[in-house]
Amino acid sequence: MEATIRIRRFNPEKDKKPYWATYTLKDCEPTNRLLELLHRIKWEIDGTLTLRRSCAQGICGSDAMRINGRNRLACKVLLQEFGENPKIQVEPILGLPVIKDLVVDMEPFFAHYRAVMPYLVNETPPPIGPDGKPRERLQSIEARERFDDTTKCILCAACTTSCPSFWANGDYVGPAAIVQAHRFIFDDRDQLLQERLDVLADPDGVWRCRTIYNCTPACPRGIEVTRAIGEVKRAIQAGKRDY
């Protein structure tokens, strides 16, 4: 089958502003992934097409883009969902500066990520195992389950760049950073709870979330993003982990 792909292109060295380019590909299979079609355009038609991808398996989080109006991973989109003669529109995710074509500058996104201190802090010495050596900090199954959902994040930025609050104001830490914060706020081994809650109680922290729910369906990992943000809000209001 034949597929038509419309891509938002921009080369800062040549173009004053972004433009749409349309490519037609023959001999496509319904089981082709969109990423494969983008590869074919780059390899067979126009080598200047620029995009990010790494594992191509939906794990590395490199190829988030806006596909037919919604944020998704190009490697997780199969051609078959678009019918007999697929017409697919691809553009970079919104809210981060475009470097070239589908590649955006992720640095502001990672700055927000770092701001929520995405690492476990525990100053007490680790417990001593039966062999007399330090061992891992044990955690109950229930306590681990509490933040299981938010451990799945791959930092692809699909949620953050689907959020109208983030489009409007890039200072907002965004859903992904809050998901990462959630993962440590609700981890009972962590000792930095109050600092974490303080950081997120900022006007540019969770309070810029308007409960719009664009982030939840945008997540390629199926994380309950808006729920996680809501739980962090409740924890801030209560001032403790078990609100």
């Binding site: 109208p164 489009w167 664009n214 369906p217 809501g230």
Partner: protein
């Protein structure tokens, strides 16, 4: 401002689900209601301070444009109330998020279900008015301009002053230090709860207010010859000489169980709605206006208007009738005067 344009165009382009459109409607309906609130509180305060102006304002409210505006307002308020309840519910119970889309549909359905009988009743008043009183259809543009011009001028003046103050404030270094890192804001944390709790409290108050003052009896009734105002102590014998000013005064003077029931009701509504509404405006300003000068100017203008609306509204409700107004009332209506002195009105 580019941020606002970008948000509008990209919201139209992004294929978000119902939650996104619920948020768009929530913002638009909230902002629209605040604009009306400013006019409505200041206009109504004229019933106390400038009775002649109030009579003119009520006349303007009867023109077709304002009639359409009132229908729109009622729809906006009902949607905002129901959707606000949805937001509060899912914010306090984030684990129920799978039902939020159903809830958003229910909000739309609920708005429609409430609007059908409401619009039916409101349209009844309009039809009555045009059947009884008006022979020639008149847009009343002059009256509309006259009623809105002070607010347009006021907006320009307040914005101009705010811009000057904001420009002046830009020389204070501490106000212009770049923001360093995220740190908690107790005020923002409190406002989040306040928006939800005040919103829930406002719902019964504002629905009651809409029912009493816009639906069951509206602006067309309160000055209609022979109309017996409900929810007041006004007797049927006063109906023939009813004026808008008298109606407001009598309503506020109505007592139930020894208290000025509508004064308390209106004060409560005034404070909650104004604080809720202007905090919403603050959210909108901070979301979309990032230029320091303009952001600060708009926040100043908004805060100033908020204080103005609360002070003017509260004074109008609390202040007893000035002597001049009482005289005027006695001239226009002998019957009112007789009753105002009697125990009927609880004085």
């Amino acid at each position: 401002m580019t941020s606002l344009v970008l948000t509008i165009t990209e919201t139209l382009r992004y294929r978000g689900k119902l939650g996104q459109w619920a948020w768009v409607l929530h913002r638009v309906s909230g902002f629209g209601t605040v604009v009306f609130l400013i006019m409505h509180v200041i206009d109504t305060s004229w019933a106390t301070f400038y009775p002649e102006l109030y009579a003119k304002a009520v006349a303007a409210y009867k023109t077709p444009l304002f009639t359409v505006g009132e229908f729109v307002l009622v729809a906006l308020v009902i949607y905002h109330a129901l959707n606000g309840f949805r937001i509060a519910l899912f914010d306090y119970r984030p684990q129920w998020w799978r039902r939020q889309e159903d809830a958003a549909k229910l909000v739309l359905l609920g708005t429609l279900v409430l609007l059908v009988p409401t619009f039916f009743i409101m349209a009844g008043h309009v039809v009555n008015y045009y059947n009884e009183r008006v022979s020639v259809f008149d847009l009343g543009l002059e009256s509309v301009v006259e009623a809105t011009a002070p607010f347009a001028v006021g907006t320009v003046v307040v914005l101009g002053l705010a811009l000057i103050v904001s420009a002046g404030a830009s020389v204070i270094p501490s106000l212009n230090a770049p923001k360093k890192r995220l740190k908690g804001s107790k005020m923002e944390t409190f406002m989040w709860s306040f928006m939800r709790i005040s919103g829930i409290l406002i719902i019964p108050l504002v629905f009651g207010h809409l029912a009493m003052m816009h639906v069951i009896q509206g602006v067309f009734d309160i000055t209609r010859v022979g109309h017996v105002p409900i929810f007041t102590n006004l007797g049927p014998n006063m109906a023939d000489t009813l004026t808008a000013v008298n109606f407001v005064r009598l309503r506020w003077d109505t007592m139930l169980a020894g208290v000025y029931i509508w004064r308390i009701y209106d004060i409560l509504l005034l404070f909650l709605v104004t604080l809720h509404g202007f905090n919403g405006v603050r959210y909108i300003i901070n979301d979309y206006i990032h230029g320091r000068l303009l952001n600060r100017a708009l926040r100043l203008a908004s805060a100033g208007t908020m204080i103005g609306v609360i002070v003017v509204g509260a004074l109008a409700i609390l202040q007893s009738v000035p002597a001049t107004t009482a005289e005027m009332l006695s001239q226009t209506s002998q019957v009112i005067e007789v009753n105002a002195d009697s125990d009927v009105l609880g004085r």
